[in-house]
Symmetry: C4
Subunit: 204 residues, 4 copies
């Protein structure tokens, strides 16, 4: 399966889980390193109904093949690729990431600890791992937001993801499959954190 | 894909999300403007199992082609088309629209602000947008309800949708695809509002 | 589509919504009236994976065709058919019916009022309708339980459904399609009631 | 359908319900008793996208056929097979098992009583059955964890399942179909327990 087919299949999986409703979310995968070329979803495409025409090739600051505009958040994808050496970057807009990114915004992030599912994150070998998921304020100036993301990635060299406030989740991986696994793991963990907060008010 | 096939596909998507259970909901699309002709779902059809026979052509106050009766809420669709120049009107009965339409009925509506997903509404370019979703009392007299909807659309010239109390969501768009995107965006946002209210009672 | 195919399709729909997990639930449809013959699901079959072999013909107190035992709750189906003249009886085990059937058991039932979705119940023409859903204590003696159901149906001649405590929903209709619509409507309404209770504790 | 196809189909069902997100969960089935041979999922495979290549044959302490490593938790599967004579062991990572396994960890387990769905557990004939679901502390030393599981299975000779804290559910059955039914029943019951706790704080 080539990269475009992988992104199409991922879009269908995520759509079935309501992580990319409307035309939200965007996906990319590195298809060449020197110079950098990125397969990236077209702006305005529905991620649950992607076709090969919705996967553009981007490099050298412009769309190299395919028609339309690359995702408005292309700069964020480029920043993650540059800072993390990622092979794929996936961005989703789920209920729980939206909720928690606001709830914990003033603390700058949230910690996830004690879950077996953490081992689904690359390099994590124990549920005792503490994953810090930093949160950025949302901003319509994508260049500025990409700068903030760069700063945040430098500050948190071990993080596997970050949240944009009331916007969604960014995560990545060495391959498209790894990035997709990170989305699934993190969506599960974020829901776990939220439901644990709910459970904290149960009567004993 | 023609309009009937689009409405059929939308019904299957919405049904999978439980937004049109039973025979609830109704969908329309403008297929001619002068005089106005509307493709509209047949009364009593299950929106998740529509066939081409369930999409009637309506105009001049009656069903022009196809057998059966057009949706009982045809007058509401016509009012939205007339007042907004919409190319498609979609009405769903979801859990969260039902819940919030009652909860906020006495305030006459609810405001949604600060969510990136707002940018999925036509013309909205920033998460700082404040969307006011007005709420109408439900009424079995559809002519009277359509009159109330007309008044409400005039009062709120910028709104992208309205709720009927303990009944559901009405939204629209220039095209069927845009109207469907608005449903997905608004359903997401309404659930976000509801879950944020739940989260407000979490212990810190 | 014949009755067996209808029951198979309904099983798949309900299974996708987690209303018949495990081998829970059972479905029947009248295929002859004089004498009464019932198509009914085989005991122990998974309702999401029914085949034509899982639909037995039952009459005269025994399985007339097909191998295996008819649902353990066959007597309840027969009672509903006899008392209501139903053409189909459907029984599901959903989360919300389980929860509410316990919560309201001591009141003997729960009232649902004010929802547009009520109009999906046969004969209901306004959201102002008040539907009383009576609740029976669960009982492993199915003959005794069927007797209790007969008493309850006589006491509540207008009800469209009843709940068995921490067990599930029974509803019916003139046809399989109507019974299935009633399941969808009631499942929606029961979830609405439960979520409204949750919402009652939101801070304003 | 052979055992590999059964495990593949189960993976798709469970994945659709978000019980095996990421590459979580693992499944096995006994394919020979003397000496013991187990079909078991490959470590790192996505349970919703299993192919026949992901089902390895394991016996005599090693992978007998197929390439790759058997699930990291193979020892736990072997322990359950040995102690219970199970024909299949299934392990899932769901939201509710994760939540409850933490909430009730200090009590060593949780009791489930009064639900009709309990009758879906092998040998249970009444909703009045009390099922004790013991909980083990999670541990990255799988040999030690398997020892703890052996102790727990001896202590609770009637239990149909156990939870690993913030990790997931282990259950089993005489056949793959029975083990899968147990997963569905227990996932339903665990969600029921959690939602009942939520309902306990509803106003009257």
């Amino acid at each position: 399966m080539d990269v475009a087919d992988q992104l199409i299949a991922i879009g269908q999986r995520f759509d079935a889980r309501n992580w990319v409703l409307g035309t939200s979310g965007n996906f990319s995968a590195v298809v060449g390193r020197d110079p950098l070329r990125l397969a990236i979803t077209r702006s305005g495409s529905h991620k649950g109904m992607l076709t090969r025409e919705d996967i553009l090739e981007y490099g050298d600051g412009r769309v190299l093949s395919g028609s339309g505009t690359s995702s408005a958040e292309t700069l964020l994808h480029l920043e993650v690729v540059a800072r993390r050496g990622a092979g794929s970057v996936l961005h989703t807009h789920s209920m729980w990431s939206t909720l928690l990114s606001h709830r914990y915004a003033e603390l700058g992030g949230l910690a996830i600890k004690g879950y077996e599912m953490l081992k689904g994150l690359a390099g994590v070998t124990t549920h005792e791992h503490r994953e810090w998921v930093p949160i950025l304020e949302n901003d319509q100036d994508v260049a500025r937001l990409a700068g903030e993301a760069a700063r945040l990635l430098a500050e948190h060299p071990d993080c596997h993801a970050f949240l944009l406030r009331r916007h969604g989740l960014y995560t990545w991986g060495a391959t498209v499959a790894e990035a997709a696994r990170h989305v699934e793991i993190l969506e599960f963990l974020l829901e776990s954190v939220a439901r644990s907060k709910e459970a904290a008010s149960w009567r004993s």
